[in-house]
Each structure stands twice: as structure tokens, then as C-alpha cells.
Amino acid sequence: MTRSEFETIAVKLHQKALKVCLDFWSSKDDAEDAAQETMIQLWRYLEHIDAERSVEALAVRVAKNCCVSMYRKQQHREVGPILDSTKDYPTNTHDSDPQGQLEAQDTQRMLNEALDLLKPRERQLFDMRAVMGLSIDEIASQTGIPKLSVTAMVSAARKKVFTELRRRIKQ
């Protein structure tokens, strides 16, 4: 997704994120902070977002993660960056200690390397399931692929990634 494409839908995405955050926070200020954080996360993840995919679904998921992340921070009274720009996926970073961050980076690197083995179509379906959080029905309607084929392709993609990850973990 390009910056201009993002800017055209930014207002809509912000409204969507704010609605999710208002459901979570009793304070409007906190909700707005979390929604703003969501927009920053999405902006950083921009180059990985496919404009044709359901960006709103991703915004909702990222908003939920931002809420949880802020909630944890308030609980632990910790001050630090919510974002970890070294990660490819927008995540709810809860490892504030350097060791935890290194482990998280290592995990993400392994996952990215395993995902690189997938064919473009498999990768697309894997991401739609894992990142966007779309159901098989939604993927089928968005891609035009029959449901049974989506299930089979997602299954195959997951098994491939799993085999590669297990191999790397055992090393």
C-alpha cells in the first residue's frame, strides 16, 4: 500500500480503531491514545499491507493489540516504547527487558525465513489468516477461491512453515 492510498483511508481506519479502543477504555483520552498508536503501527507496517486486502480488519486487530499493550504498561507502571520497529508485523510488545526483545526479534526472524519458503499464493492466504484474522469464508469471498481449496492451501502452508520452524528450533 502506498502512502497516498493509506492517507485516503486513514480517517476511516482511525474511526474503526477508536471504536475498538472506546470499548476497552473507560477514559476517552486513553482510547484516543491507543487509536493513535494503532495508526502509527499501521503506518510503519504500510509497505507490507496489500491495498486490496481487508485493511480494516487489520486495523481492528492492531487496535486490540495496542489496547492490551497499553493496559499491560499501566498495570506494570512501565514507561517505554510500545512499538518495536525491528519487527515486520505490528505486535503487542510486552517484553520490555532487552533479553525479551532479543528473543522476540529472533522468533520473528525465524518466522520470516520460514514464511519466505511459501509460494506467493500460500503466503497470501497464510497472512490473511494469521495477520488479518479473516475466517475461511471471508478469505474465500475476497479471493474468489472455493472454501475447500482455501482450507487445503492454508493447511499446506501451515505445515510447511511448521516443518521449517521446528527444524530451526531444534538446531
Binding site: 476497552f24 492490551v68 499493550s69 499501566q74 494469521a130 487445503a152
Partner: protein
């Protein structure tokens, strides 16, 4: 979730058959596992933090709903709007009517007349209802049968009296026949002491101990007070809970007075049954919430001096300002 359940979900996940909700469930279950096998660790990585975050978001919201029941709207908005409009019209009609007093006195007279008519009607109609079907039976009614009728009447009256007495017993077992107690609360009774019970439970749940009562002024033994210092945390949300609690009481409750801001909460109620006057004050001071509850017999002068002392103590200005203010 048992390991068997987790494994079943993992198998389903690899078959591509899990729903997003099941994947969230799996992510949470794997997060809670202490020693993950390599296989499960890989699955956890594949599920990703977005799924886990979403699962936690839903879990937190579900827990909140369990802890604090949501006040559901009982009536649709239009009904509430219509009701408020009707009230405004009624109040306006009563206030703006030119012969208000005459109208009300006429209305009273009418209702009194109607009441007289109805009682007369009952007296007149009563014997006719008990008239026998055939005149011969009425004429042939013996003194014995009249007696038995009278006895039945007395019995039924006794039963009525007994049930009335039973009801009186149920209402107030300590009510003496010589006592002259006016029943002032005509609406369903909502015990103000429940606020104190709730706060005590909330304090216990959050490991907040009741503060020691100390007051430099001579204490009135009629006044019962309790003090708590809660941490000002979002998860406790004392102000929100207090407000929800105050809203539970009907605003028609005697002595109902509620004022609040982001900084201070003040709530007042009268218990007409026990003849007590309740006050609750909460105030945000230096990252803490001072909660002060007090109740005393109606008409007792309650000073806020003790409360002010606690405030000063929390604000560390005890030496600067020792003046007390009345509530």
C-alpha cells in the same frame, strides 16, 4: 484446557479448520503452558502475537463484564423520550393551570364522593349477594342457620385479622402496638448500608485495609465512620464503581444527594427505617483515593473535621492547615 484439548486444536489448526476464535483460544492456552514442546512452540510462533493480543483483549473485556455487571437499557430510547415528554407536559399543565387549587380541591371532593358511593354500594349489595336463590328458603331460614352464618362470618373475620397480623409481623417483627411509627418510605426499600458492605468487599479484594479512626476532636459516639485509602488505579476504578453504586439507588430515596467530579465524589442518603443519615465522600489525593463513610442518627450534626484531617494527612499539609470545614 488440558494437553489433550490443546493437541486436538493443534491438529485442527494444521488441517486449516480452526476458526479465528479457536485460534485465539489456542494462543492463550499455549501462552499459559510453562514448558512448551518444540512443536507447540512453533505453533505459538505461527499463531503470532496479533492473535494472542486479540485473545487477551477479549479475555480482559469478558472478565470486566463478569466483575461489573453492565446496566442494560430496559426500555427503548423512544419510550424514555416519550415518558420524559409526558412528565414535562404533566408538570407544565399542573403549574400553568389557572385554577390549580380549585381544581385539586374539586378532584379531592369527587374522589371522596366516589369513595362514599362505592362503600355504600358494597353495603347495599352485600346482603343481596347472600340472598338465597328461592324466596321460600329465605323465609324458611331458621335461627340455627343464621347462627351458623354468623359463626362463619366471625371465623372469616378472624382469619382476615390473623392474616393481617401475620403480614404486620412479616413487615416489622419489633413493631409494638403502642408504637407510633409512620411509614415514610413508600417505595421499595434499598438499604443504604449496602454501600458500606460493597466497599468493604472491594477493599478486601484489593488488599486495602480499613484505616484506623483517629480524630483530634472529641468523637460523637452516635457517629459511625470508616475510612479507606485505595490506590488510584484504573483496574480498581473506585470512582466509576461508586457512581454505578449511587445510580443503583433510586433518586426518590429520602435524602438522595449525589455530586461528583473527576476529583471528588459525594453521596448522601437517609434510611427512614433505621432513622439514619449516611454520607460517603471520596477524593483523589496524590495518586490515592480517600474514601470516607459515615452514618449517624437523623438530625445529628456531623462534622467533616475528621475527614479533613485524613485529607491533610494525605496531602502532607497537616502542619499548615488544621482548620476544619463542615460538610
Amino acid at each position: 484446557m488440558t494437553n489433550k484439548d490443546i493437541q486436538q486444536l493443534v491438529d485442527k489448526y494444521f488441517a486449516g479448520e480452526t476458526t479465528p476464535a479457536e485460534e485465539q483460544q489456542l494462543a492463550l492456552a499455549l501462552k499459559e503452558c510453562e514448558d512448551l514442546s518444540d512443536e507447540w512452540q512453533a505453533v505459538s510462533m505461527m499463531l503470532g502475537e496479533l492473535t494472542l493480543g486479540e485473545a487477551e483483549y477479549n479475555e480482559i473485556l469478558a472478565n470486566r463484564e463478569k466483575q461489573a455487571p453492565v446496566i442494560k437499557r430496559m426500555y427503548p430510547r423512544w419510550m424514555a423520550a416519550a415518558a420524559s415528554l409526558l412528565i414535562i407536559i404533566c408538570v407544565g399543565a399542573v403549574l400553568l393551570w389557572p385554577n390549580n387549587e380549585q381544581l385539586s380541591s374539586d378532584a379531592v371532593a369527587k374522589t371522596e364522593k366516589q369513595a362514599c358511593k362505592t362503600t355504600e354500594g358494597r353495603i347495599e349489595n352485600a346482603p343481596s349477594l347472600k340472598m338465597p336463590d328461592s324466596p321460600s328458603e329465605g323465609i324458611g331460614q331458621t335461627a340455627d342457620s343464621r347462627r351458623t352464618n354468623d359463626e362463619k362470618k366471625e371465623e372469616s373475620e378472624k382469619i382476615i385479622v390473623n392474616t393481617a397480623a401475620d403480614e404486620a409481623d412479616e413487615i416489622d417483627p419489633y413493631l409494638h402496638y403502642a408504637s407510633h411509627e409512620e411509614k415514610i418510605d413508600t417505595m421499595p426499600y434499598q438499604d443504604p448500608a449496602r454501600v458500606n458492605e460493597y466497599i468493604a468487599k472491594l477493599a478486601e479484594a484489593n488488599n486495602v485495609k480499613e484505616g484506623a479512626l483517629k480524630c483530634s476532636l472529641p468523637c460523637d459516639s452516635n457517629v459511625v465512620s470508616a475510612v479507606y485509602v485505595f490506590p488510584d488505579k484504573d483496574e480498581i476504578n473506585l470512582f466509576g464503581r461508586l457512581l454505578q453504586l449511587a445510580c443503583w439507588y433510586k433518586s426518590e430515596t429520602p435524602g438522595y444527594r449525589l455530586t461528583f467530579s473527576n476529583q471528588q465524589f459525594f453521596f448522601e442518603l437517609k434510611d427512614m427505617r433505621r432513622q439514619l443519615h449516611y454520607h460517603w465522600i471520596a477524593e483523589r489525593i496524590n495518586g490515592k483515593v480517600l474514601f470516607y463513610a459515615t452514618h449517624a442518627p437523623l438530625g445529628t450534626n456531623v462534622s467533616s473535621a475528621c475527614y479533613q484531617e485524613y485529607c491533610n494527612e494525605l496531602m502532607h499539609i497537616n502542619s499548615i492547615n488544621k482548620k476544619s470545614r463542615k460538610i
